[in-house]
Amino acid sequence: MLSIHDLEVRIADQERPILKGLDLEVGAGEVHAIMGPNGSGKSTLGYVLAGRDGYQVTRGSVRFRGRDLLAMDVETRAREGLFLAFQYPVEIPGLSNLEFLKAAVDAVREYRGEPPLDSAALLRRAREACAALRLDPGFLKRGVNEGFSGGEKKRNEILQMMLLEPRLCILDEIDSGLDIDALQVVADGVNALRSPDRSFVLITHYQRLLEYVRPDRVHVLSGGRIVRSGGAELALELEERGYGWLEEEVA
């Protein structure tokens, strides 16, 4: 699904790289968690994979479903099936959530050679997704993320994911700012989407999310590199011991 080799990335115009030779293999149907202290490069990894401007790849390669991901523009990555759930979803007042979803779903379906969904069919699916995420259907008429609470914003990311049916979901701190109930709803949404041909990368600071969405692999990102990988039990160890011991080990 995703194969990252020796990836070095810097923010444009800065000397010091943020990712310094990162390797990661994510197979089809797998759930990987990437954990690490603040400033370790977790969010940068998500942005680079999604294709955000302002990052410069100076070394390495990324293959997504057998193709060179870094050669694709942002929208092509999305249509190929890559989805980044934003840590801070962007507000677009004046554009309704439903209009936004229509445009996105249509673009992705057209690329996949699927017929466009008519408005009624899309609305039905969107309402079902709202119900699953315990969102009021009036939510679809509101401006994109406009005035949404933190929890609503995160659920809106999952809503988009449900409708776009991506192959690889990168969730950047989807658990931050959520109370236990909201976390449960979001996790249920993620679990419902798990399938043999869909993979997940959960970027998180805390082990809490992993109690609800059980990962196949856990990686620790520190200083721009994966410094340790293991099974789900690694997350528990991190919870108990923090990140300090790993940074020392590496040093």
């Binding site: 999604a50 294709g51 955000r52 401007d53 523009d73 942002v74 929208e75 990555r77 999305a78 249509r79 989805f83 980044l84 934003f86 979803p89 962007v90 677009i92 007042p93 004046g94 554009l95 209009e99 936004f100 229509k102 445009a103 996105a104 249509d106 673009a107 992705v108 690329y111 401006g143 994109v144 988009q160 776009l164």
Partner: protein
């Protein structure tokens, strides 16, 4: 070019009722003393009159020909309420719609006024818009043939909106016409007026020189919508002047979505204590169009409030001009005045010129103003693209979102629908790019 005024003055006006002849004569007199503004005049610094002068827009308009062709352009989708249509400046009964009005309401074209009403109008016309140095206001008076009046007696409320359409038709040679409106609301009266400027078809080389006056009695409330939807060879220069007595309220909604040159000057005098006004506007010039809003809100009494919120997007090689002015007079304690103007520069060749102006002669005020000119928001663009939306469509969605926040505040559902369609046609050169918004 230099003889524009001479030609404009030499124009022979058709025969008119005595009251109208006297109004015209005053206009001619004022125009002889005035001069055309140039870009060296501060108020015209960013808006050149070249399209008017080089286009030689001097002749009176021609007859419109078969009217059925323009029926569609006359539609604003307003299902109810009276409609007065003026084709090339002259009242057109065939396209208009009369509906019963309560006793105490006069809604009429100038050409239908009797001697008594005409004399009343001659007394008051221009009271809020004295020509002074405004040469176009003077010429408007000199060219005046027709127009509309709406007089509403104290305490009356008009339930339905009044639709006033000024429609231009294609001209054999560039022509100019005067547009005129007077609204007088008695104490406590309420009304909604839609001033709609449009042209039918292409090749409409018409210059519309407009003056609208709004006199609001104590506690009166006027919702005023003014939309410019002209074609690409049409020019419009207009002044809308309002005076509000104590406790009166003006809600103005403005949209410029067409015309080679559209310049609207809004002048609001909050004359009485506690008067208030809210001006909301949207302008989207594209290609080589120039849209210019000049506002001036004067706080002349205590405890008056004003709110101005405008937005614009300039695309292609177009230019948008916004000059927003708040003037607080010495006795106007307790004034509250806010002004916000936000703009998006669609590309490097477009131009936006904004200037907020505050003049405050009083300490006891709450005032703020803000004007911004920005490019597309990169974060929003990335967010849309990261969901698979192509960049060209993402810009259309973002332009729509930005404009729609203002449009959503407009009254009248049908009007919003019509403006939304026009807005989308402007934002999306390829209609496919707006297909998720229709």
């Amino acid at each position: 070019m230099a003889d524009y005024l001479a030609t404009a003055l030499a124009r022979q006006a058709p025969p008119a009722a005595p009251w109208l002849a006297s109004v015209r004569a005053r206009g001619a007199e004022e125009a002889r003393r005035a001069r055309l503004p140039t870009i060296r005049d501060e108020a015209w610094r960013y808006t050149s009159l070249r399209p008017l002068l080089e286009g030689n827009y001097t002749a009176p308009p021609a007859e419109a020909g078969p009217l059925a062709r323009w029926a569609e352009a006359a539609e604003l989708g307003l299902a109810a309420g009276p409609r007065l249509v003026f084709v090339n400046g002259r009242f057109c009964a065939a396209l208009s719609r009369a509906t019963p009005l309560p006793e105490g309401v006069v809604l009429s074209p100038l050409s239908d006024l009797d001697e008594v009403a005409g004399a009343r109008l001659a007394q008051s016309l221009g009271r809020l818009a004295p020509p002074g140095e405004r040469v176009f206001t003077a010429l408007n008076q000199w060219w005046l043939e027709d127009g509309a009046v709406l007089w509403v007696r104290d305490g009356l409320e008009l339930a339905e909106p009044i639709h006033l359409l000024w429609l231009g038709t294609p001209q054999p040679s560039p022509a100019s016409v005067a547009q005129r409106l007077q609204v007088v609301l008695g104490a406590g009266a309420r009304a909604t007026v839609v001033e709609h400027f449009a042209t039918g078809g292409a090749g409409e080389r018409l210059f519309t020189n407009g003056v609208s006056e709004f006199e609001l009695g104590e506690g009166a409330c006027l919702r005023h919508c003014r939309v410019h939807l002209e074609g690409e060879q049409a020019l419009a220069i207009g002044l809308a002047a309002a005076r509000l007595a104590a406790g009166a309220r003006l809600e103005g909604f403005h949209a410029a979505l067409g015309g080679q040159l559209t310049r609207v000057e809004l002048h609001v005098a909050l004359e009485g204590e506690g008067a208030s006004c809210e001006l909301t506007g949207l302008y989207l010039p594209r290609r080589r169009e120039v849209f210019d809003y000049h506002t001036c809100v004067e706080h002349r009494s205590p405890n008056a409030a004003s709110e101005q919120a405008f937005r614009g997007i300039a695309a292609d090689r177009a230019r948008a001009v916004f000059n927003g002015r708040i003037h607080i007079h010495p006795g106007a304690r307790g004034s509250v005045a806010h002004l916000v103007d936000r703009n998006i520069l669609g590309n490097d060749e477009a131009e936006v010129d904004v200037k907020p102006e505050l003049e405050i002669y009083n300490d006891d005020v709450q005032c703020s103003h803000g004007a911004t000119v920005a490019q597309w928001d990169e974060r929003q663009l990335f967010y849309l693209r990261s969901r698979g939306v192509p960049e060209a469509e993402a810009r259309v969605l973002l332009g729509f979102a930005f404009a729609n926040e203002v449009l959503e505040r407009f009254p009248l559902q049908e009007l919003r629908q019509r403006l939304r369609a026009r807005l989308l046609a402007r934002l999306a050169v390829d209609p496919q790019l707006a297909r998720h918004l229709t």
